[in-house]
């Protein structure tokens, strides 16, 4: 009887021992993909739909000075691409000691729980959030995260829009002190195909993420109801990025074609002409 109980306990506990642990303090490994401060109109490499391109071209940096947007965090579609560090911690059921959820929080994000306890996603009538609602499962040693219920947001912080119908599949892959964070965005409104990106983090044992309080203030004196934006075809900054880096303007404006080698060859050909 005792043996049976021990076998049962070992069997129940086995998955926990086999699981990769992702908890810890992680610092981003800066590379060319950590697009901290992109140019207006720098949409290269994003499979934006025609609607997404128009929306991006209408964006004005002054938009972020609106009181409604000053305290917004970076949402799930962008945050893992940014330059900020992340803390990942575990929520464990005190009785079963099984993993209930991982949580991730960056310098400027909300808490992002990823539930592993089998709870269902909410109904389509439920409120959407910046982090969305996420469930997770182990696939071998990877963690696969499925996120729905996202707010409208951005893929890049220069006005590349994501819609509230978008969903996200994420993978965590740990190799020792390194964590690869893969995001695959699906967006029927503003993307023409899934957008796959990966970011690297390195374990940082002495890291402390500071608080990030925010109070909206009157940053710009303007009449009530004014929303800064550029009229179609009137955005004077759209050409700056292409001009600085000698890239054809039609490629800087994104779209699926801007992700593939043909775009690079086109850039090369353009440069060789000069």
């Amino acid at each position: 009887m005792k043996l049976r109980a021990v076998v049962l306990l070992v069997a129940l506990g086995a998955p926990a021992f086999a699981q990769m642990d992702f908890a810890g303090e992680w610092a981003p490994v800066q590379d060319e993909d950590n697009t901290g401060n992109p140019y207006v109109g720098e949409f290269l490499g994003i499979p934006m739909s025609p609607a997404g391109k128009l929306r991006g071209e209408a964006w004005s940096g002054s938009y972020m000075t609106l009181p409604e947007w000053q305290c917004r965090p970076h949402g799930a579609m962008y945050i893992s691409r940014g330059p900020s560090q992340v803390r990942i911690w575990k929520e464990v059921d005190p009785v079963t000691r099984q993993l209930t959820a991982y949580h991730a929080e960056w310098l400027r994000s909300i808490d992002n729980p990823y539930y592993l306890d089998g709870r269902p996603h909410p109904s389509d009538l439920a409120v959407h959030t910046w982090g969305g609602f996420s469930t997770a499962e182990f696939v071998g040693e990877m963690l696969k995260i499925t996120t729905t219920h996202l707010k409208e947001d951005y893929y890049r912080r220069n006005g590349v829009p994501s819609s509230d119908r978008a969903t996200l599949t994420q993978y965590w892959i740990r190799r020792g002190d390194y964590l690869t964070w893969v995001t695959i965005a699906y967006d029927p409104v503003y993307l023409t195909e899934p957008m796959i990106r990966s970011s690297e983090y390195r374990l940082a044992l002495n890291q402390q993420i500071p608080p990030y309080p925010c109070d909206a203030v009157e940053e710009v004196v303007r009449a009530k109801g004014v929303v800064p934006h550029e009229l179609p075809g009137k955005n004077a900054f759209m050409g700056e990025f292409g001009k600085k880096y000698n890239i054809p303007i039609e490629i800087t404006r994104g779209g699926a074609e801007s992700m593939y080698p043909e775009a690079a060859r086109k850039i090369e050909a353009e440069r060789n002409k000069k």
């Binding site: 609607a51 997404g52 128009l54 409604e68 959030t129 934006h229 009229l231």
Partner: protein
């Protein structure tokens, strides 16, 4: 001054709006109940959204859905009502009877929000006594239907005439609040002039911090600027900005005040801000085109909403509403 022609146009638009609403509904849509906060529940699938306050004081409904769905709405309310009345009680074989439906607040006149008035109100009860009972023998019959005055004015003009019992009987002009807490909180009604229509009401549940907006804010389509019933794009924007003045996020621009739209899912301040931004930007674009002497057809052809069309669907009615509102061409 309202002329018969105005009323005729209004009635025509109402019929069109109702037809549109009906056309958008599946034949027998599922009536779904989604908890909002505390004793507030979203009833979805009946036409326009219905927000229900269900508790010890009875039931207050914001809107009543399409008439053909009224029986199923009543069944859903009854089920919810019994469940809540018996929640947390002692184990017993006795079932606590549900509390009555006491109020229906109409956010505006369209049939997908008022169609269930007659049947649902009839199933309810108004609590009366003293002088009131003495004066009006039938005062306790059915729930009280409340709306802004313009809703009653316009619904009274619809031909063929709506049943008397389907019309609001308690109307207000600028603002109104229930004179007492209902299910533990204040319920405040605010008139939003010339927005979706000229009789729009926001219903704010102050304790729960939940706001029902009617069709001024929806998540399923562009707003419908119902010019024939007194709507205007500037009124629509004023109302959306009023929501932003009222709502407070819990943290980092999410949560806090919850917004229940006329159609679609539960929202918060950020969702309304995005919608306000969209309506403002489209208004600015159309205004710019009007300044360049473009006709309505030219404006439509220029697709001033193309960035949002994959999200909100056909823009024609919205663009036309914005154009005519800005040019005062009805």
């Amino acid at each position: 001054m309202k002329t018969p022609r105005t009323y005729l146009a209004a009635a025509g638009t109402l019929v069109l709006a109702a037809c549109f609403a009906v056309a958008q509904q599946p034949q027998n849509p599922e009536i779904r109940i989604e908890p909002v906060r505390g004793h507030l529940y979203l009833i979805n699938g009946a036409g326009g959204n219905i927000l229900a306050s269900v508790g010890p004081d009875g039931v207050l409904l914001v809107d009543s859905g399409l008439s053909q769905n009224a029986d199923r709405v009543l069944a859903a309310i009854n089920k919810l009502n019994v469940e809540i009345a018996n929640r947390g009680g002692l184990p017993t074989t006795t079932v606590v009877p549900p509390k009555p439906i006491r109020y229906i607040v109409n956010t505006h006149l369209h049939a997908d929000h008022t169609g269930g008035n007659e049947k649902i109100a009839k199933a309810g009860k108004t609590i009366t006594g003293g002088n009131v009972t003495g004066e009006f023998g039938d005062a306790a019959e059915g729930a009280t239907i409340i709306s802004q005055q313009a809703v009653l004015d316009r619904m009274s003009q619809i031909k063929p005439a709506l049943p008397f019992a389907a019309l609001p009987e308690d109307t207000y002009h600028d603002d109104k609040r229930l004179s007492h807490f209902f299910n533990g909180e204040a319920v405040i009604l605010q008139h939003m002039p010339a927005a979706h229509t000229d009789g729009d009401t926001f219903v704010y549940f102050r304790g729960s911090d939940v706001l029902a907006t009617g069709d001024i804010f929806v998540t399923t389509s562009y707003p419908f600027i119902d010019l024939a019933n007194g709507g205007s794009v500037q009124g629509e924007l004023n109302a959306l900005n009023h929501i932003l003045d009222l709502a407070v996020a819990e943290f980092r621009t999410e949560g806090g005040t919850l917004i229940v739209p006329g159609h679609g899912r539960i929202c918060d301040i950020a969702d309304v801000a995005y919608y306000r931004d969209m309506v403002t930007i489209v208004r600015d674009r159309v205004q710019d085109m009007i300044k360049r002497d473009m006709t309505l057809e030219q404006v439509k052809a220029a697709k001033p909403t193309a960035d949002w069309d994959p999200r909100y669907g056909s823009p024609d009615r919205f663009v036309e509403g914005v154009y005519r509102s800005l040019t005062n061409k009805k």
